[in-house]
């Protein structure tokens, strides 16, 4: 099998595993970190498809902006510190 096909299947299965972790995690912040892993690995797929500019924009927009906005939104909600009063 060609190298690029092997790489594609490795990255694709990693994307699926990360997406599974987004859905099945207990903690919402963990879910967002896995979501950004999905975005990064998708950028790797774009690089495999010879679409470097699309990969760069994927990282810039999805990882750099959307994930941060989602995490920011989560952090604005009420949360209890472990072993302490609410913050």
């Amino acid at each position: 099998m060609e190298m690029i096909v092997v790489l594609f299947w490795v990255i694709a299965s990693l994307i699926l595993a990360s997406a599974w972790a987004v859905v099945n995690g207990n903690d919402i912040v963990h879910a967002v970190v896995w979501l950004s892993a999905v975005f990064l690995l998708t950028a790797c797929l774009f690089i495999l498809a010879d679409a470097e500019f699309l990969a760069v924009i994927q990282v810039l927009v999805y990882v750099g902006a959307i994930s941060v906005v989602i995490i920011f939104g989560i952090m604005l909600t009420k949360r209890t510190l472990k072993g302490g009063e609410s913050a």
Binding site: V29, F53, G64, S67, I71, M75
Partner: protein
Amino acid sequence: MTLFGLCKTMAELTAEKFIVPVLEFQRNLFPPFSYPAGDLADWFASEGGIVTLAWIYAVNIAFAVGMTNLILVIHLERKIAARIQDRRGPMLSLRAFRELGEDLAGEAPTWRFKGNYSGIGIIQNMADGIKAITKELIIPNKADKFLFSMGPIIFISSSVFLLVLFPLSDRFAASAAPAGLMVIMAAFSIAPIGVLTSGWASNNKYSMIGGMRSAAQLMSYEIPLLLSMAGVFLLAGSYNPVDIVEQQREATWLFGLPMWNFIPQFIGFIVFMICILAEVERVPFDLPEAEAELVEGWTTEYSGIRYMLFLAAEYIRGFAGAAVATILFLGGWAGPWPVPPEIWFLLKVYLIIIFWIFIRWTVPRIRTDQILELGWKKLLPLSLINILIVIFMVEIYPYFDDIVNLPEVF
């Protein structure tokens, strides 16, 4: 000769003289388990293997140059900070090691040079590194262990990645991406996730406030930053650092003086310098780690080598930010002939860094509510005005071609 050409020669030499013979020797060492070594030898003898090896060499050389610059930047920061506070800063010279040895041996110091404590103190960085490595790595009991470890990995790896992305000149480059500056900005924009996760995972009020401030800061500066870069991209017609610097080298105005981008796009230059200062989180935009209000913010709970690598990564981001500003607005490696272009580039970068260090020790920190207002109400309109000016300039400059000369890009 370019850096890549040099590395390719080195790769051909090492592959031919060292790697391939060793692997050929290993091929028949434990048959049949060692046959893959022979396949590897064939690959290293082929074009693909040599090009891969050459890229590895080029990236490592660029990385080593960047880390050397990192040490110099930290040293400059210390010395200038000390001078601004009317002290001398680290002064230890190499000769002081002799006195240290005598102290450790329990002897009375016999060899006391007058110059022991009047060096330039650059080995203070080594002492700090040894101290940080030998300290204990503390993980708080109630912290989220997984994210507490992931945060530093995201932040530090994405920052160190920056070191090899910008070229020092058109021949000294470890990255040949056509969208070079967009790649740099993408690598810059990964780090806030690391800041947010490590701030959240520390299970500490102040760390979490630091992480949230980082996100608020990102939302206010990221859009004006990229919009102020758009003017330069319009003028050069490319995202490639080499093309952008070539455009600035060829453009001239009055008396044939070079017209680097900060002359026609002065508004964009000011907006970009403010935004890149916020991007690299230096004073006056170090809200996430405000040491007076938030006890070092999102880095509070980190200790030992992790904390030192956080600091190092911040200086790397500072260096990379200054390099991007130099490429975009200060003409990159363009300069008069006798000085090599790499030295011109580093001179401009260090000029910006020294300016930042002066800012750091002389101005107060901006407030959280002020940064949102600054970003959205002031910098965003200004960067849009800058794009308008660039479009206007590109459209009308043929009528002023006795004054302004722009290279044709479209």
